[in-house]
């Protein structure tokens, strides 16, 4: 913890040093939201496909702690954590997951398309790697419009084999765009270990494109936040960077995936790397007791209850409203 504290102070040029208790609160919020979704999914209340980021929360919380509200992010199919950490409306989030008209996307997108443009969250994405070029364009817009903001592209190690990634790395480096690439390396691409999908490591790609690359433990939120604060400041003024976060996919590729392809030892070892456990350990060293942390969890659960109940009470979207929104309604039209 002392290293991290030193780093935070040293790196706190642009943003204030993230407070570990606040970071922990962010982790708990994502974890409890997704556990609630998992439960509701298993009970048949959440329709469609959902992909949970349990075990990866520290990447979302740590990176987002370094961003301003004007910074934009493009996310993945496993995007709940990114969205929640970027500060999207929790009511709108649960309403969307429950396919209600009050959802952020009016019940038209669901889990894989959660977006909140008002907080710079340009969307989860059902297509692996697609968010990379959207973030590329957003970074280009920031530079052209001189907003001073940056764009962040989140992607998994499964996306490393997508051709679009290579195009985007090249263009971001060529144009020195304010674009941070955040690779959430959980070792899996759907049902196959990425060790069986990739002939290279991201650091080698980074070297080829001459983009500074750093690989860190993505499950230590304080560490992620410290590095993110420093690297985001570099991106803002110096062009693209790659932050590779080694992390853990605890749940299956999708909810309902029994993960028969994973061995018991690997799954058993995950709890030792649990981002909440790691953060709680650091907080204990700083003198925060279990009661304090439990209080955070209680607050979060109460907040989630409010959103879930509001979503349950909301109506389902009307077909005519959806039909009227395929194109932008003409100005002056209803």
């Amino acid at each position: 913890m002392s290293d991290a504290t030193t780093h935070r102070q040293a790196g706190a040029g642009h943003n204030a040093a993230p407070d570990l208790l606040e970071l922990y609160r962010g982790l708990v919020l994502i974890r409890r939201c997704e556990e609630r979704l998992s439960q509701m999914f298993s009970e048949g209340e959440v329709p469609g496909f959902i992909h949970l980021s349990i075990g990866q929360e520290a990447v979302s919380v740590g990176v987002m702690a370094a961003l301003t509200p004007d910074d934009t992010i493009a996310s993945t199919h496993r995007g709940h954590g990114h969205a929640i950490a970027k500060g999207l409306s929790l009511d709108g989030f649960f309403a969307e997951l429950l396919a209600r008209e009050t959802g952020l996307c009016k019940g038209r997108g669901g889990s894989m398309h959660v977006a909140d443009m008002s907080v710079g969250m340009l969307g989860a994405n059902g297509i692996v790697g697609a968010g990379l070029s959207i973030a590329l364009g957003s970074a280009l817009a920031h530079r052209t419009r001189k907003t001073g903001a940056i764009a962040v592209a989140f992607f998994g190690d499964g996306a490393l084999a997508e051709g679009l990634l290579h195009e985007c790395l090249n263009m971001a480096a060529l144009w020195k765009l304010p674009l941070l690439f955040v690779c959430e390396n959980n070792g899996w691409g759907e049902f196959l270990p990425t060790s069986k999908q990739l002939s290279f490591a991201l650091k080698d790609l980074a070297a080829a494109y001459r983009i500074p690359h750093l690989c860190i433990d993505g499950n230590d939120v304080a560490l992620v936040a410290d590095h993110a604060v420093r690297i985001v400041a570099e991106v803002r003024h110096g062009g693209p960077r790659i932050l590779e976060c080694l992390t853990t996919r605890v749940r299956g590729h999708f909810e309902g995936d029994a993960q028969k392809y994973r061995d018991a030892d690997e799954l058993a070892a995950l709890s030792a790397r649990d981002p909440l456990r790691i953060a709680a350990g650091h907080l204990a060293e700083l003198g925060f007791d279990e009661a304090a942390l439990g209080g955070i969890a209680d607050e979060v659960e109460a907040r989630i209850d409010v959103s879930v109940e509001a979503a349950r009470a909301a109506g389902f979207p009307a077909f005519a409203d959806a039909m009227a929104d395929v194109y932008t309604p003409a100005q002056g039209a209803a």
Binding site: L104, H113, S133, A141, M171
Partner: protein, 324 residues
């Protein structure tokens, strides 16, 4: 009135749009230093700067995806894909991202981007540099598709496409780039989704777009010598298309022929024919006929390509058939 080439009209539309709105940028392969593979963006880098006229590497997927991201972040990008055949490489950006972002995000934000691309044969460019693939895009809810036939409509429709809040695939026929015609001194912006009647006639309606409009006009001149008066509708916009204009003309002539250079099967003509067979059924005095390319890739050898492209003779044959 002055004469203007189709390519100059595109260039003028880009110039005027960029002058009118600082959020308009151009992005594509060779659009900046080279001024465009066909010259559509010549002089724009010098006038508006390299920051707004961006040469990309040969990375169609990324440049199209970047246009989506830029459009979601406050710009109005105009992306160029050098040949329509290369739009196979931008399908995800257009179909899964641009077309759906407004809808699937609940109308939070529109995607004001234009993707310009030339289609069409006649230049001996072969199977991968000649295709007319507009029907693919017209099939995707959320995209608009435009295909002008002459300099004035190229200008007016491109200005409208850039002003439009939604993603527009703007298809130019590369065989028309050198075409010159009279245009008014002040070129108007033309609405998307509206057809133009280029020739009035009582006997048959011929609907066409892009270069096929000229094939239809040539056919109409020959038919007029035989006493058959064809009404020519230039569709201009393919998605949305001017259903009411086609229906109104059909109500006048009671016969309909649709002409396009794209492959006939499963094409734009099929959609128009199906709609008119539905809402215009009572007006029809003959079969609705289509004239398009045969079901084969665009061939290279001149004789093959000439036989492949829809000709005035095939339009005349179709008109005679529906009048028989």
């Amino acid at each position: 009135m002055a004469e203007m080439r189709y390519l100059k009209a595109i260039n003028q539309a880009l110039t005027d749009a960029m002058a009118a709105d600082p959020s308009v940028i151009l992005i594509g392969e060779d659009v900046s230093e080279a001024g465009g593979a066909f010259g559509a963006s010549r002089g724009l880098r010098e006038r508006f700067g390299a920051e707004r006229v961006l040469d990309t590497p040969i990375s169609e997927a990324a440049l199209a995806g970047a246009a989506v991201g830029a459009a979601l972040s406050g710009l109005r990008p105009v992306a160029e894909i050098m040949f329509m055949d290369f739009t196979t490489l931008v399908m995800d950006a257009l179909v899964n991202q641009a077309a759906k972002a407004r809808f699937m995000f609940g109308g939070q934000r529109s995607v004001p981007m234009v993707l310009r691309t030339p289609h069409g044969g006649g230049l001996g460019a072969g199977p991968q540099h000649s295709q007319c693939l507009e029907a693919w895009f017209a099939h995707v809810p959320g995209l608009k598709v435009v295909c002008p036939s002459d300099p004035a409509s190229a200008y007016g429709l491109l200005r409208a496409a850039i002003d439009d809040p939604d993603p527009v695939v703007f298809v130019e026929h590369k065989g028309l780039y050198a075409m010159k015609s009279e245009v008014p001194d002040t070129l108007p912006i033309l609405p998307l989704g509206k057809a133009a009647t280029l020739r009035e006639g009582r006997d048959v309606t011929i609907v066409a777009y892009g270069a096929a409009v000229h094939t239809a006009m040539t056919a109409a001149a020959t038919l007029a010598d035989e006493g058959i008066e064809a009404e020519i509708l230039d569709l201009r916009s393919i998605q949305p298309w001017d259903e009411q204009a086609v229906l109104a003309s059909l109500a006048k002539t009671h016969r309909l022929v649709i002409v396009h250079e794209a492959v006939e099967a499963f094409g734009v003509g099929a959609e128009i024919a199906a709609r008119m067979a539905d809402i215009g059924f009572d007006e029809l005095d003959g079969p609705i006929l289509r004239v398009g390319a045969p079901f084969m890739p665009v061939p290279f050898s001149k004789g093959l390509e000439n036989a492949y492209l829809p000709s005035p003779d095939r339009v005349i044959d179709a008109v005679r058939r529906t009048l028989a």
